[in-house]
Symmetry: C2
């Protein structure tokens, strides 16, 4: 527990200035975290990240994350990051030819879904910051309030299992606690934060959306647990002492942020 | 051969008015062709398209193709087709949880790469038409001139095998014939077509690009051949008597059109 708290404090001390500064700092941070995420997923499956597939998947995630205006300004006006990502997919499809039929489109699907899962998640982390610190903090508070609320309520009142096949320690009571906690934090934050006109919707809609985001965040956690359970590992990595890997820490965020973008929050 | 010619004539008679009309006609046609393409790839791998994975992959391809302004106008302003596509990816990731760890992220990669391969290809077919008939026809002429030139030169002068492990009938002579044929057709077309100011670049650059597109088109053909060879099928389908399936007919286009978009042609 002590190690866990120390890691969290150190991470926050590093993380807060990056979030506040935004711009190039958050873009590079997101890109590095994404590459570590790709590495963790490759290692779970027993693949080397320093392989053709690993390098292409890392690049595919990175080109989704780094905004065109700053990083790919040399591209023609009509094209965008998605086409750069798709170039990586085409390179993987090209490997089918180069491998002389030993590599299949089905195998090439793994680096593609990995780079999307991690890349689009962190892409939207960057997009939330570009949209303003007010919106990014709302998003982070919803994710964190869900996690902490679920943990505390679950520990105290947890009885009925939520999804034991995937995550045996989670309870229905904890899950509801996470939702309530997210709504309370979101309402207080939106009511009192200066610059709340940055939000697309009014308070009643924001409450409904917060409930959705809290559920999606918990679902993102279950998705990552499913992946770990399938590959029979406890943590996605060891980079954060007491917290596991990057995916363990960002699993909710990877699911919530794209849904927030889809629903027009940023 | 007679059946082949009849099919080609019938297809062109159906195809030309759709291309000329553009808009909703070409969007729906592209969406239908994409779903058939997804079906063909699923069948090659021995999977049902009328399965959870097949339906999600078909939808994922379709939401890439249908332009937001006409089909998804109800989406918030800040979001786009790519996020709808990614919603389908998230649904496939969600299946990991629902399956209670029997379905892996690696398996979920197949529907994702299939929907990208077919979806982004036809997305750019529609994008080329939106950019104007002049550009779309250039793109089609390059693909067709490559095919016909490679076939005719290869038949007459073909000696050295190009890539026998993947496609035993292709020759280096044929491949070069395809490139020369594409350049000749492109130069004549660009020089004489009314409205050539639709092209982003001047003639010398267009010649270099045409060579690249012709090579990419032939490569796209090899990619599809690799997929078929891996799954040990002769044709991707039987929808076009004498021509095989949709993928057999559109394999070059699926590779060339995205590269054209990436290089700023439309």
């Amino acid at each position: 527990m002590r190690q866990r708290v120390i890691t969290a404090v150190v991470a926050l001390v590093l993380f807060i200035p990056i979030i506040v500064y935004g711009g190039i700092a958050i873009e590079l941070t997101a890109a590095v975290l994404a590459v570590v995420g790709v590495y963790e997923l490759f290692r779970m499956k027993g693949l080397e990240v320093l392989s053709f597939e690993g390098v292409v998947a890392s690049l595919a995630a990175v080109v989704l994350i780094l905004p065109k205006e700053r990083w790919f300004f040399f591209l023609p006006e009509k094209t965008d990051n998605f086409m750069l990502f798709y170039l990586m997919v085409m390179i993987l499809l090209g490997a089918l030819v180069a491998s002389k039929n030993t590599y299949s489109i089905s195998q090439a699907g793994f680096p593609v879904i990995v780079s999307l899962y991690v890349g689009v998640g962190f892409q939207n982390f960057v997009a939330a910051r570009s949209s303003g610190l007010v919106v990014l903090l709302y998003a982070l508070f919803v994710v964190w309030a869900t996690d902490i609320g679920a943990y505390m309520v679950g520990r105290k009142y947890g009885k009925r299992k939520l999804f034991p096949a995937v995550s045996p320690n989670k309870t229905i009571e904890g899950s509801i606690g996470g939702i309530v906690s997210a709504v309370v934090v979101a309402v207080l934050y939106i009511a009192f934060v200066p610059g709340k006109e940055a939000f697309t919707y009014d308070m009643p809609i924001m409450i409904v959306l917060t409930i959705i985001f809290s559920i999606v965040g918990q679902f993102g956690d279950l998705v990552e647990s499913s992946i770990k359970r399938y590959y029979d590992v406890k943590d996605s990595g060891k980079i954060l002492p007491g917290h596991g890997g990057i995916l363990d820490r960002f699993d909710s965020l990877l699911f919530v942020f794209p849904i927030m973008h889809l629903l027009g929050l940023f």
